[in-house]
C-alpha cells in the first residue's frame, strides 16, 4: 500500500506536463477512490456524498410530488376508509330497550379508471339497480376519479346480482347502516343520522359532538363493539303511550299540532317527549319540513295560565302575599294606558290566593305580579330560566321571545302568561321546581340518579312555597279546571292554560294554544305531565269548547291512567293523612 502512495506522490509531482502523465491521472483518480488510506480518500467520500445526496433528493422530490398533487392512484383501502360510514354506539332507553343500532350492509362502488366499457357498465348496473339514474351514473363513471359510489346500502339479493354481472372495476364494501326499529315513536329525541352515519339531529348529533367524529376524523377505525351504548332517560313504553294518546287527540280535536312530555321532577330526566307531526328517523325525508319541528324544544309559545303558577309562587316566595291574601276582582277589568285586560272567568268578588288559581283570575295574578314589581318579576323569571335559551342534550333549542322594553303592562300580561313566549321544556323545568321542593333542575335526556341531579340543582324557591304550590295545584285538580285529569288514586294536581294565538300581530279569538300541566302524586310529586295542542277545535261532548281542560286535560288524564302503573306508582285509596301540613295549619282556603 505504501508503495502505491509513493507512486502517487511521484505521479502528482510528474503531472506538470505530458500526455502520458494525463492518462496516468485518470486511472489514478479511480485508484484513489478505492484507496484504503484515510488522508487520500477524499474523492471516495465525495462519491459517497454525491450518491446519498442524489438518493435524498429523489426522496424529497417524490414527497413533494405526493404532497402537491395527491395521487389518485392511492389504494382502494384509503379511498374507502374516508368514504364509508362510521360505526355509531347503540342507543338504549332507560330499561335497555334498543332505540337505535348499527347493522352491516353492503354498498357498491366503482373505480372509473379500471372500467373498460363505461356505457356497457352503466347499462348493466341500471338494469340490476333500477332506481339508479342512468345519466348521473354515466357522468360519474366518466370522471377520472379512483373511487365513486354507485349505490349505498343495497340488499343481499342486489349484491348477488351485481356480483354476477362481473364488471371489472365494480366492487362491494361493507358499511354500517343506522336503523331505528321503533319507527316514529321517539323521532324527535333520537334525531337521525345520514347515509354516512353522521348525526344530523337530536341525540345522534349530540353523540357526535361528544367526540365520536373527532375519532373518526383522526383515522381511528372505530368498531361498534368498542363503543359504549348511550342510555337515555326515555322509557319506551311510556313514550309510546304518550304518542298514542296524542295521535288520538290530534285526530279527535282536529288540532294542527300536538306535543307532550313527562318529566321526573326529582331528577330532571325526560321520561317521554313527543311532538306531532313527527317523522321516521330511518327515512327522514320530511324531517326538515317546517311543521316537523320539535315543539317542546324549538317551538316558543305563550303558555297562558300555566304562568299564573309562576306568578303566584313569586308573590308567595317574595313574602308579598301569603296563602290567605285576598285580591279584589271587582269590575272584571283592569286598564293599563290604552289597554284593557278582562277576566276570562269573571267572578267579580274578592278571591283568596287558591281561588285566584282555581278561577284562573287574570286580575288576581296581575295584582300579585305588580306587588313584586317589574324588576322583581324579571329577576324571578330569569332565576327560573324563562328569559334565556335553555340548552339540553338535544342540539335543537330556541331562545324565548322576551319583550324589548319591559314595562308595567308587560309584567301585567306576563303574569297571566301572555307577552312572553318560551319553549315548553323551559316551562316544564320551572313548574318542576315549583313542586319538587324548590330545586330548579335542568331537564336531561340521559339517564341519571337523583344524587347526580341534586348536584346541579339550584334552589329557587323555599320549600314552604313549593308546598303551597302543590296544595293549590291539587285543589285545582280536585275542584278546579284540572278535574278532567284527576285519575282516582293518584292524587293528581294540575293547571290548564289556554292562550289565544297571535295571528298577524293580533290575538285571534277562535285560535287557541292549549296546555295542561299535571303533577302526580301531589303530596310528594314524582312525575310532571305536560300536553299541548295547537289550534284544537271544539267537539260534540265538549259543547263546542276548545279550552285546555277539554283537550289537553282529557289527554293528560288518559296518559296518567296508562303511564302510572308502568312508572311504578301505586294507586292509593284514601288521600294521604296530612298531605299539606303547613297549609292546614295556616287554615288556607280549601284545606278544610
Amino acid at each position: 500500500m505504501s508503495d502505491a502512495a509513493d507512486q502517487h506522490v511521484a505521479a502528482g509531482v510528474g503531472s506538470a506536463g505530458g500526455t502520458r502523465t494525463r492518462r496516468w491521472l485518470r486511472t489514478d483518480w479511480l485508484r484513489d477512490v478505492f484507496r484504503m488510506s484515510g488522508e487520500k480518500s477524499e474523492p471516495r467520500v465525495g462519491l459517497v456524498i454525491l450518491g446519498f445526496s442524489g438518493l435524498f433528493l429523489a426522496i424529497v422530490g417524490r414527497l413533494i410530488m405526493l404532497g402537491a398533487f395527491p395521487s389518485e392512484q392511492v389504494g382502494l383501502r384509503r379511498a374507502t376508509s374516508t368514504a364509508i360510514s362510521a360505526a355509531r354506539p347503540d342507543i338504549l332507553d332507560r330499561n335497555g330497550v334498543q332505540l337505535a343500532t348499527d347493522i352491516r350492509t353492503v354498498s357498491v362502488f366503482a373505480e372509473p379508471r379500471n372500467i373498460l366499457d363505461k356505457d356497457e357498465a352503466t347499462e348493466l348496473l341500471t338494469a340490476v339497480l333500477p332506481d339508479l339514474n342512468a345519466k348521473e351514473l354515466r357522468d360519474k363513471l366518466g370522471t377520472k376519479k379512483g373511487f365513486v359510489w354507485v349505490k349505498r346500502e343495497i340488499t343481499p339479493r342486489q349484491q348477488a346480482e351485481v356480483h354476477r354481472l362481473g364488471i371489472p372495476g365494480v366492487g362491494f364494501v361493507p358499511e354500517n347502516k343506522r336503523v331505528y326499529p321503533n319507527g316514529n315513536v321517539a323521532a324527535h329525541v333520537l334525531g337521525f343520522a345520514n347515509v354516512d352515519n353522521i348525526g344530523i339531529a337530536g341525540i345522534e348529533k349530540y353523540i357526535d359532538s361528544q367526540g365520536l367524529q373527532d375519532l373518526n376524523g383522526a383515522g381511528f377505525a372505530v368498531q361498534a363493539s368498542d363503543l359504549k351504548p348511550v342510555q337515555l332517560s326515555i322509557d319506551m313504553r311510556v313514550q309510546h303511550l304518550l304518542r298514542d294518546e296524542l295521535v288520538k287527540g290530534l285526530e279527535k280535536y282536529r288540532a294542527i299540532a300536538a306535543a307532550g312530555a313527562i318529566m321526573d321532577v326529582n331528577t330532571g330526566e325526560m321520561i317521554a317527549l313527543v311532538s306531532l307531526p313527527d317523522f321516521d328517523p330511518g327515512n327522514p325525508v320530511d324531517a326538515l319540513e317546517k311543521d316537523r319541528i320539535n315543539r317542546m324544544n324549538v317551538g316558543v309559545y305563550e303558555m297562558g295560565s300555566t304562568f299564573k303558577a309562576l306568578t303566584i309562587a313569586m308573590a308567595l316566595d317574595a313574602g308579598k302575599a301569603n296563602i290567605n291574601s285576598s285580591y279584589s276582582t271587582a269590575g272584571g277589568m283592569m286598564r293599563f294606558g290604552r289597554q284593557v285586560i278582562k277576566e276570562y272567568h269573571g267572578t267579580g268578588r274578592t278571591l283568596t290566593v287558591p281561588e285566584v288559581f282555581l278561577h284562573s283570575s287574570n286580575m288576581g295574578s296581575i295584582k300579585m305580579a305588580l306587588s313584586v314589581g317589574v324588576e322583581g318579576h324579571k329577576a324571578f323569571l330569569r332565576k327560573m330560566m324563562q328569559l334565556d335559551r335553555m340548552t339540553t342534550e338535544l342540539p335543537e333549542s330556541a331562545a324565548p321571545i322576551v319583550p324589548q322594553r319591559w314595562g308595567e303592562i308587560n309584567t301585567a300580561t306576563i303574569a297571566f302568561g301572555h307577552g312572553l313566549a318560551v319553549a315548553p321544556i323551559q316551562a316544564l323545568a320551572a313548574v318542576g321546581a315549583l313542586v319538587n321542593g324548590g330545586y330548579l333542575i335542568k331537564p336531561t335526556f340521559l339517564k341519571r340518579t337523583e344524587e347526580e341531579a341534586r348536584k346541579e340543582a339550584i334552589r329557587v324557591i323555599k320549600p314552604e312555597t313549593s308546598e303551597a304550590m302543590r296544595f293549590i295545584m291539587r285543589l285545582n285538580g280536585e275542584k278546579g279546571s284540572a278535574r278532567k285529569a284527576d285519575v282516582a288514586g293518584y292524587f293528581v294536581g294540575g293547571k290548564t292554560g289556554t292562550a289565544e294565538k297571535v295571528i298577524n300581530g293580533r290575538y285571534a279569538k277562535n285560535k287557541n294554544f292549549t296546555t295542561f300541566t299535571a303533577i302526580a302524586p301531589s303530596d310528594k310529586p314524582r312525575y310532571l305531565f305536560l300536553a299541548i295542542y295547537d289550534e284544537p277545535k271544539g267537539y260534540a261532548e265538549s259543547g263546542g269548547y276548545s279550552t285546555a281542560a277539554w283537550n289537553a286535560g282529557v289527554t293528560t288524564g288518559k296518559v296518567i291512567e296508562r303511564a302510572a302503573p308502568i312508572l311504578g306508582m301505586a294507586p292509593r285509596f284514601e288521600p294521604p293523612p296530612s298531605p299539606f301540613p303547613l297549609m292546614a295549619r295556616l287554615g288556607a282556603w280549601g284545606s278544610r
Binding site: V97, I103, R104, P181, N182, V185, V487, E561, P571
Partner: protein, 129 residues
C-alpha cells in the same frame, strides 16, 4: 474426532432448521385459523345485531298494541280494577259440600272395610242390597 464434531454440528443445524420451519409453518396455520375465527365471530356479532334490531322491530310497542287490540280481549288496567287486600272478603266457614251431598242422599253412614266383610257379605254403601 473433529470430523465427528462437524457431523454432529451439521446434523444439529439441519434438525434445528427443520424444527424452526415446522414451528413457523404451524404458527402460520394457527394465525390463519385465528383470523378465520375472528372473521366468523365478527359475522356472528353482525348477525346478532341484525337479529336484535329485528326483535325490537317486531316488539315495537306500536305493533304490539295493534296486535293486542286485534287478537286479545284485554283492556287497559283502570284504577277501579285494583282492590286493597283488606277489601277482599274473608273466607267463609269451611263447608264439606261432598259430605253434605252424601248426607242429603242418605249415604252418610261410613262404608264397611274389607275386615268386616267376613261377618257381613253385603259390601254396598249403607248396607243396601
Amino acid at each position: 474426532m473433529i470430523k465427528l464434531l462437524h457431523i454432529v454440528a451439521i446434523g444439529a443445524l439441519v434438525s434445528s432448521a427443520l424444527y424452526a420451519y415446522s414451528i413457523k409453518y404451524e404458527t402460520t396455520l394457527q394465525a390463519e385459523q385465528l383470523q378465520k375465527l375472528k372473521a366468523k365471530a365478527q359475522r356472528e356479532r353482525e348477525a346478532i345485531a341484525v337479529l336484535k334490531a329485528e326483535w325490537q322491530f317486531l316488539n315495537r310497542p306500536e305493533r304490539l298494541q295493534a296486535l293486542a287490540e286485534r287478537h286479545l280481549e284485554l283492556q287497559p288496567l283502570t284504577t277501579t280494577q285494583i282492590v286493597r287486600l283488606s277489601d277482599v272478603p274473608n273466607r267463609g266457614p269451611k263447608v264439606d259440600s261432598i259430605g253434605r251431598k252424601l248426607e242429603d242422599l242418605g249415604l252418610g253412614v261410613p262404608t264397611e272395610t274389607p275386615k268386616d266383610r267376613k261377618s257381613n257379605a253385603v259390601t254396598t254403601p249403607g248396607g243396601r242390597p
